[in-house]
Symmetry: C2
Subunit: 85 residues, 2 copies
């Protein structure tokens, strides 16, 4: 793997897993009032678009990060409905 | 431009601009308590890594989206400090 791809992996790791502490915070506070529902749904549609783009391009890392990203964003959306609009 | 790249542009547009309604919501509610500071800082570092990756790859759309993403995430981070941890 060319060295620059490690930077891409790190970038994908950070931007995808950043949502984990956000989900934890919402569950800890039992509140998602400050989270924008439009942010959440737009992000989910965008990540789905990245996933389809990755599948069409055959870009494995894009596919993997965006499957994880879809799962995490769906979880946050679930938490948003659970803990308040 | 190959048709698939329009999908990439749409995906970049959605995942980048999703933050706009989030920033608006924080300002409207004058509260960013539910926003995780770890989420915000991890996302900012991740987007910076994508920006450097884009510059090294000479990928123009990656550079443009991530400059906008950096600006929006910095704004949200500013709002987080302004409206409460």
């Amino acid at each position: 793997m060319p060295p620059i791809e490690y930077l891409g992996l790190l970038a994908g790791l950070l931007t995808t897993l950043a949502l984990v502490p956000q989900i934890i915070r919402v569950y800890k506070l039992k509140s998602a009032r400050d989270i924008s529902l439009i942010y959440n749904t737009t992000m989910l549609i965008g990540i789905l678009a990245w996933l389809i783009y990755g599948i069409l391009q055959g870009a494995v890392s894009l596919i993997i990060w965006n499957i994880i990203g879809c799962a995490l964003n769906s979880w946050l959306l679930f938490a948003k409905f659970k803990f308040g609009r």
